[in-house]
Symmetry: C2
Subunit: 435 residues, 2 copies
């Protein structure tokens, strides 16, 4: 953990080092992945069966066994305690409502000059949702990825999830059921991505693949990009907390650790204007690290990537926040909206002293799939926009073409594109003749 102060002479190089801290070391798996994709393309279902036996430690008896049955889904739901099912439903209801508010309107400009213009949004036909197996199988991620697709109007959402040792994860199945996902395949890894992109005898291809995964899954998504769309490939998680001394240091410490417990490569940063408060937070972090269940992971993240930055005022803090462009930003100040107004780059913001980032991970409503590694400078969290695309349109009446056609002809000729110009000019000539 590093302690910096903007008052120090060496602040700028130290802050720059923090910005340049490449927390991810990606394994090179491109060769292995392209071999797997090749097998699935060549052999379809047979390759899926063989690769599932090899990598997931169970041997499906034929292709039918790869599809999760409605009975298996119902049994999963029945096995979950009602309070937890209720929590899942609260989360889903709020996520749906927020994403419905994102749905954009079409544009329809009649035009006063004989040229009507517009833009229409359409949902994608089919989306594939990758859900990791094992310890990182998060029901909240199923909701966050599937619900925006459903709200956007995607007709077919096909989920793939590895079932290591053949074990189904009941909470993941329950989340899928609540999200309206009925097509679930027990395949994972690069082979699942290949099946979604290229299709097999059993699995129809999709148009876009979303959802988190390990290095093999990320590389497979990279390799099938172009044939299908993909979401951005997430790096380790981050939080930046702006907090003054009026906060409870224990609250701030736990907010920092909630991020750190995700992954040793996660990063938690506190910016404050009070040195004594900074010290109090650091002590609370150390205290909590003696008791937390995931203290080994959280402790390593805090030690390696954590930072506390002392600033002279909140304008200085905003300038640093914009350079960090964090995935998650907590603003724990008296007037959080005033400071938020000066923030240009952040994936998601959590305003005030009673809004720990964790409520955004589960139940607040906005998506928890967010841009990492400073990419909120140019990209955004998952949303209904990921499952919609636009078609623009133009409809010219004869007098409209007469009005704007000559400019098109001039520009086409200046660019040396004769048929472009001619396709407009022959129509203009004919109108001239008819007059």
């Amino acid at each position: 953990m590093e302690i910096l102060s903007t008052a120090q002479a060496d602040f700028e190089p130290r802050f720059q080092a923090l910005l340049d801290d490449a927390r991810e070391t990606t394994a090179r798996v491109d060769g292995a992945v392209s071999a797997i994709i090749g097998e699935v393309r060549a052999e379809g279902d047979a390759a899926l069966l063989r690769l599932t036996s090899r990598f997931d430690g169970w041997a499906p008896e034929g292709v039918a066994a790869l599809r999760v049955t409605p009975q298996q889904i119902d049994a999963a739901v029945a096995s979950i305690e009602p309070g937890l099912m209720q929590a899942l439903d609260t989360a889903a209801t709020r996520i749906e409502a927020f994403h419905r508010a994102q749905l954009p309107a079409d544009i329809d400009l009649p035009g006063t000059d004989g040229v009507a213009l517009g833009m229409r949004w359409n949902a994608l036909d089919a989306v594939g949702l990758y859900v990791p197996g094992g310890k990182a199988a998060y029901p909240s991620s199923v909701l966050m990825n599937a619900l925006p697709a459903r709200v956007a109007g995607v007709e077919r959402v096909a989920m793939v999830v590895p079932t290591p040792g053949g074990a189904l994860n009941p909470l993941v199945l329950a989340a899928a059921k609540r999200a309206g996902v009925a097509e679930i395949w027990r395949v994972g890894g690069a082979q699942a991505v290949a099946a979604l992109a290229w299709g097999t005898e059993s699995i129809a291809p999709v148009d876009r693949i979303v959802g988190p995964g390990n290095a093999y899954v990320a590389e497979a998504k990279r390799q099938v990009f172009g044939r299908v769309g993909i979401d951005s490939i997430a790096g380790p998680s981050e939080v930046l907390v702006l907090a003054d001394a009026r906060n409870d240091p224990a609250h701030v410490a736990m907010d920092l650790l909630a991020q750190a417990e995700h992954d040793e490569a996660a990063q938690s940063i506190l910016i404050t204007d009070d040195a004594a408060f900074a010290e109090a937070v650091i002590r609370e972090v150390e205290k909590a690290l003696t008791t937390l269940p995931r203290r080994a992971i959280a402790g390593e993240s805090w030690a390696r990537h954590g930072a506390v930055i002392l600033v002279r005022d909140w304008d200085e803090a905003c300038a640093l926040a914009n350079r960090l462009a964090p995935e998650h930003l907590q603003i724990m100040l008296d007037d959080p909206r005033a400071v938020f107004g000066k923030i240009r780059h952040a994936g998601a913001a959590f305003l005030g002293r009673h809004t720990p980032e964790a409520i955004g991970d589960y139940v607040a409503g906005p998506n928890h799939v967010l841009p990492t590694g400073r990419s909120s400078r140019f990209s955004s969290g998952l949303s209904v926009f990921d499952f919609l695309k636009r078609t623009t349109w133009v409809q010219a009446e004869p007098h409209g073409l007469r009005a704007i056609g000559p400019a098109a002809v001039l520009l086409a000729e200046a660019e040396g594109l004769g048929a472009h110009g001619a396709s407009v000019q022959i129509r203009l000539d004919e109108m001239q003749l008819r007059r």
Copy 2:
């Protein structure tokens, strides 16, 4: 050129072959490109000077010579005939108006339960615009790439354009001036992309790079993706024309050729319900191919990738159009909107008999940078959305956290994330104590 009919027994495999037609053969240039990027990262401006001498055939006298001066821009504008400047202005004015109509509204949900939610759009800080040099230097592309960024509110648009042999392209500079782009660098290729992504002593880095380029530029964009955002990498252009026998075959033929003249790999397809009309269009294409300035290119595109498909009705045509998911779609029918209502996948549509696609390339208003190669199934044309990103936000009051916090705690515990749950629970416990 192929002629298909849905009435033929072998239609399905032949149509599938058309869908699978990979028109692009990308050269492998990744090694050369990563070497160039490495040089620019290590040496900055010095590498730009050396690489410009090597690849562009002129030797800039120092870094200052790489920046186009206001005097050079004004001289370029003065050299262009007024009619053409007027056409450029007509185009720019209409493009601006259409893209302004795209600007989305923020979301601000006060919430009735003590949890306010919202989403805010912000423009990117800085965007790089790649403009190809030489014969493919299109002023219309400068407008189509730069104006949406300006309309979105991007403060800094930095343009890079190679000047082979040292020659500036006056129309490109005039288009840049009209689009409000004042920062223009005379560099191109992978070195220009590297400079925009990583920055040099003279060129500040940007957040996203857009604009077309050759194989080196496309590969450089792929390699810097992640550090900065990039636009999608365009393949060869396509048009699909749906036309009945009430059209003039010469109009349809010229619309097909306007696409074919772009590139030998371009693809023009006609779908019609009238065999005699199809033959008339084919004859008109052959006739026009004897006179067009770019007949060699257009002829090769038509011969290799062109197709005419006979259908029994327009529903059948719509189904095929959705499978083709064309970049450009012309619907030359009496009621084009009824048929357009059945189209789910197309980059841009041109409705009616008086709307040749070429007016969309220049002056209609919607963007001409569009998804190719069937990718309109999952992606969209360039727009203000490419230059904006979203930050979601949540602000919970104490009673709001009391309402939704317990569900977050349950879900966090079910996922084994103890600090997530604790960050909510310690606040709930404290409120309990205070009551």
